[in-house]
């Protein structure tokens, strides 16, 4: 598809202009950012803080390729169709050099398909679906966060250590929940032959009937529970589970629960000893994390959340890719990003050439209560590179 120059002055005869010729000079590099600001504020507000901080840092350090960076941000209202229209606006009217953002998987996929069609780079931040880089991956799409597969894979070693035989699963009834359960079952069965999945619950997202769900799970008499619910559903689930004693004497493995966005609302009801992925913001002490947390708290007077890390790392990852490419030409960036390394609050990560997934990892640890506040303990960082399937398997899933 060709790009059209917007022109009010020119006569009706003006037709296609081959591409936008712009004075490169010192005009800022424009990043078109789309996210579900109104639909998922608990994640996106800290996320916006994160990328704003990163933009400040990058520009204070002189920008990239001698140019400042500038983010043009849009709210997709949680709907893929609106995200596509806004992507068009950002590319055609705002003349952004690349697209970025996304929270919901379907919005991420919609923008990535737009990017493929329009030959524009799209750097996805949060969307977790495996399809984004694997079976629906394309050369213009990169993704930062560890995917659903990776989140499940990171938990497997600890899940095996529980030596539990009878498992039940509870996950929100949509693609993310389904994938998270599917991978966990496959990976666990491979590592621990003889494991049994004796029950499953699929509450509708945001509508969990927690009492009935908890009782139904308990009725399966499991040794261990795998949980994928998050947000408001998780709070309801934990409260009913606590009162009804569902978690007592059982191992629980839970995806994303250690992220402050989802852990904090559990308050003093946080069950202890759940094996979770997340972000132990209270106890990380390495220089990269410290520097980020200090800068964030100085600016926003509150602790960063996982969204903040994603926002911050997203900008760094884009800047590093542009730097390595040496240009903001879409075709060049689509190749050039691969193999570049970028700094994140969690340490350095790379863009993989094979599937455009970043190797940003996350923390795996246990939930605990400290002074009545939920925290993560006994955590360790798992690099994304250690939670991915073999290259051969990736190649099989990803279209050429």
């Amino acid at each position: 598809m060709k790009l059209y120059r917007r022109t009010f002055l020119a006569s009706a005869a003006t037709v296609a202009a081959p591409s936008i010729v712009r004075a490169q000079g010192d005009a800022p590099i424009r990043i078109g950012e789309i996210n579900s600001y109104t639909a998922v504020p608990a994640f996106t507000v800290p996320y916006r803080n994160g990328w704003q901080l990163a933009v400040e840092h990058v520009n204070a350090a002189g920008g990239v390729l001698g140019r400042k960076i500038e983010v043009v941000s849009r709210d997709d209202a949680g709907k893929p169709a609106d995200a596509i229209r806004l992507a068009g606006e950002l590319v055609n009217d705002q003349k952004v050099d690349l697209l970025a953002g996304g929270f919901l998987s379907n919005v991420g996929l919609a923008i990535s398909d737009f990017a493929r069609q329009d030959r524009k780079l799209f750097v996805a931040g949060e969307p977790l679906t495996d399809a984004l880089v694997w079976d629906k991956g394309n050369r213009y799409t990169y993704r930062l966060r560890p995917s659903t597969y990776m989140q499940a894979a990171m938990l497997i070693d600890d899940a095996v250590k529980l030596q539990a035989k009878r498992w039940v699963t509870v996950a929100p009834n949509y693609e993310y929940g389904q994938s998270a359960v599917k991978w966990f079952k496959l990976l666990l069965a491979a590592k621990q032959p003889g494991v049994e999945f004796v029950g499953e619950q699929w509450p509708a997202l945001g509508k969990i009937d927690a009492g009935a769900t908890v009782a139904a799970l308990a009725e399966n008499k499991p040794d261990a529970i795998y949980n994928v619910t998050f947000g408001a559903d998780l709070t309801n689930f934990v409260r009913q589970g606590n009162t009804r004693g569902l978690f007592e004497g059982k191992g629980v493995v839970s995806v994303l629960t250690g992220e402050p966005e989802y852990l904090d609302p559990l308050g003093n009801e946080t069950p202890t000893g759940w094996i979770v992925t997340g972000y132990p913001v209270n106890s990380v002490s390495d220089p990269a994390n410290k520097a980020f947390i200090d800068a964030y708290m100085a600016k926003y007077k509150e602790q960063p959340k996982m969204g903040s890390v994603v926002g911050y790392a997203l900008i760094n990852a884009i800047v590093a890719g542009i730097k390595k490419t040496g240009s903001v030409d879409s075709e060049k960036m689509a190749d050039g990003f691969a193999g570049s390394s970028f700094a994140t609050p969690f340490g350095s990560a790379d863009w993989r050439a094979i599937d455009h997934q970043s190797t940003l990892g996350t923390y795996v640890g246990k939930t605990a209560l400290k002074d009545g506040k939920p925290v993560m303990v006994d955590w360790h960082y798992v690099s994304g590179a250690d939670a991915l399937p073999s290259d051969a398997e990736v190649k099989k899933m990803r279209p050429a």
Partner: protein, 613 residues
């Protein structure tokens, strides 16, 4: 056995929660006939206000009860504000306009809550008594759930006493039957309506606050609550309190046991229940056939073809639209393409709502089926784009034909809710059949054929198809078919008497509307390059409803004007402000107050008045 008992009790507790929200909605509808879309927002506000109050109080049961009642009173006050400032001004407006106004309130409240309480879920720390449990048959049953089991029937009893044993209740029931007579007897109806609305709002507020110990106050609870509440109210029978309780029991118990047998049924269960109940009992479990309260009926003016001046205006707009691609950029063009699709979508709903007299809360079903039909045709059957654009309307029309038979037997809100049930069932199928539809990740790569991939060409194609279809719809409505359809709407009895078959006329209207919406969906699929279950979601159905009501039901130009205005406003606001919900909500409220007959309807009326004078 212990499990069955505990699950049964758990179901009873959920039933009470459902009933508390639904009770307020059914009370308000029963008396004022207002379809209060903002009822979920009142519930959410109740939770947030409850959190603010209860997190400052000591944790004892008495303090808790006091705090909940206080939250209820606070929300009752909010209800009074909404009723006095907004609804009171539009009771005389056409049916369902109040729904549009309360939709504006929903948007405003969402942004207000975000501004006032912040983005994080708010949880109440539970004191020990709330965490305690009772051993029943070897299983733990939360003490708080046992309390909830009692609260539902208690509220039901209290409301029953209020309506049957007090003077106020008697007057309210009288006003429900015959507003003019009550007014003639010197009773201030306004005050009655305001107090009823306050009561309903207060119940929603109490429901929200009582939900806190089991979960959190969060920004999504409004829409979750409103769908559930509507389902309960409709299944129970509009305006019937015992019916609402019975429906709550039915749904909660089916849910509690349903998820044990079929864990994945969660998405669709309540809507299947509603569909079955409405098919078997068209007025809900305990509802009576709705009769218009005297003094409420508004005879509709016959909508005549537009005056020549207006037609020339339409021709001018069309010429401008044809010429537009030469002077607007590609993004503006994509917005205009979207507006055209919205126009056809709204016009198709108008066929049902206006001349057909069949309001639909689930019109997105046909739109979505068209979009999915086109996507399957291209991706699954490898058909060309033109062929897919033929498949889209036929697929949707076929579904409308099959399902329409059940729909057209119903009327009013029951009919609207049955269409919603169908839309939700379709949505759930698309959502859950991941291997065929990709689930919520949708179907990608449905881009236009090579010859139409140029945005201008696709725009012209869309323009040609949408305008042609809207004109055909208009033509049909001025043909004998359209007049016959309107006859069945205005007086079913007389229409039958002169030999019109109301059922089949309405069915044909539904099929035509379904086909047009399906075509709009097919075009949307190609313009966006992808199809998602959001195309069938309640949001999408509400969009259509808002467009038609905003433009004006009783006007042929209404849906066109409404679609252009709403899509334009929404698309623009989304780009320029974070607070787009607040601004959009306030705009809708302002438009409702300024144009009670819809933008096109009111403008046309004013224009006529000027000419007659």
């Amino acid at each position: 056995m212990g499990f069955v008992l505990v699950q049964f009790l758990t179901g009873l507790a959920s039933a009470s929660s459902l009933f508390l929200v639904a009770a307020g909605l059914t009370v308000i509808f029963g008396v004022t006939r207002v379809v209060n879309f903002a009822h979920g927002s009142l519930y959410m506000l109740g939770a947030y206000l409850g959190w603010t109050i209860l997190s400052r109080l000591p944790g004892g049961p008495a303090w808790f009860a006091g705090g909940v009642v206080l939250a209820g009173l606070g929300i009752a006050a909010v209800g009074v504000l909404i009723e006095v400032l907004l609804l009171q001004r539009i009771y005389k407006a056409p049916e369902l306009l109040q729904l549009l106004a309360t939709f504006g309130v929903v948007l405003v409240v969402q942004d207000l809550v975000l501004k006032l309480w912040g983005p994080n879920d708010l949880t109440l720390s539970r004191p020990p008594w709330m965490r305690s449990f009772v051993q029943i048959a070897g299983e733990r049953m939360p003490f708080y759930d046992l309390l909830m089991i009692g609260i539902g029937p208690l509220v039901l009893l209290a409301l029953w006493l209020l309506f049957t044993r007090t003077r106020w209740g008697t007057l309210v029931r009288a006003a429900t039957q015959d507003r003019e007579m009550v007014a003639a007897l010197g009773v201030d109806q306004r005050l009655l309506f305001t107090t009823v609305f306050a009561l309903g709002a207060g119940l929603a507020g109490i429901g929200g606050a009582l939900a806190l110990p089991d979960g959190s106050a969060n920004g999504q609870m409004d829409l979750t609550a409103i769908t559930d509440a509507f389902v309960v109210v409709v299944v129970g029978g509009l305006g019937s309190l015992p019916g609402a309780y019975l429906a709550s029991l039915l749904i909660a118990l089916l849910q509690a046991f349903g998820i044990v047998l079929l864990p994945k049924i969660t998405l669709v269960l309540v809507f299947v229940v509603m569909a079955v109940v409405l098919v078997v009992r068209p007025n809900g479990l305990l509802g009576r056939k709705l009769t218009l309260a005297r003094g409420e009926a508004n005879t509709l003016a016959l909508v005549r073809p537009a005056e020549p001046a207006l037609r020339w205006l339409g021709v001018a707009a069309l010429l401008l639209a044809v010429w537009a691609p030469w002077f607007v950029g590609p993004f503006a063009l994509s917005v205009m393409t979207e507006m055209l699709v919205a126009m056809l979508f709204a016009a198709s709903l108008h066929v049902m709502m206006g001349p057909g007299g069949m309001p639909s809360f689930g019109h997105a079903a046909w739109f979505g089926l068209g979009a999915y039909g086109a996507a399957f045709a291209v991706k699954g059957l490898a058909l060309s784009m033109p062929a897919a654009l033929v498949v889209a309307p036929f697929g949707a029309a076929l579904a409308a034909l099959v399902f329409g038979g059940f729909v057209v037997r119903l009327s009013g809100v029951y009919l609207a809710m049955l269409t919603l049930a169908f839309a939700q069932i379709v949505w759930a199928v698309m959502f859950q059949a991941v291997s065929v539809t990709g689930g919520d990740n949708g179907i990608l790569g449905v881009w236009p054929a090579g010859w139409a991939s140029n945005p201008r060409v696709f725009y012209w194609l869309t323009l040609a198809i949408c305008v042609a279809c809207v004109l055909v719809l208009r033509r049909a409505l001025y043909a004998p078919f359209g007049y016959a359809l309107r006859a069945t709407r205005d007086s079913a009895l007389r229409a039958e008497a002169i030999g019109l078959n109301a059922g089949s006329l309405r069915l044909v209207a539904l099929v035509i509307a379904g086909a047009a919406a399906g075509l709009a969906g097919g075009l949307a699929a190609f313009s966006k390059g992808s199809v998602f279950p959001t195309y069938i979601s309640i949001d999408r159905s509400v969009d259509a409803l808002v467009m038609v009501l905003l433009g004006g039901v009783q006007s042929m130009a209404g849906p066109v004007v409404g679609a252009l205005a709403y899509t334009g406003l929404f698309d623009m606001l989304l780009m320029v402000t974070d607070l787009w919900r607040l601004v959009l909500g306030l705009s809708i409220i302002a438009l409702v107050l300024v144009f009670p007959q819809g933008i096109a309807g009111t403008t046309y009326r004013l224009w006529l008045r000027g000419r007659e004078a």
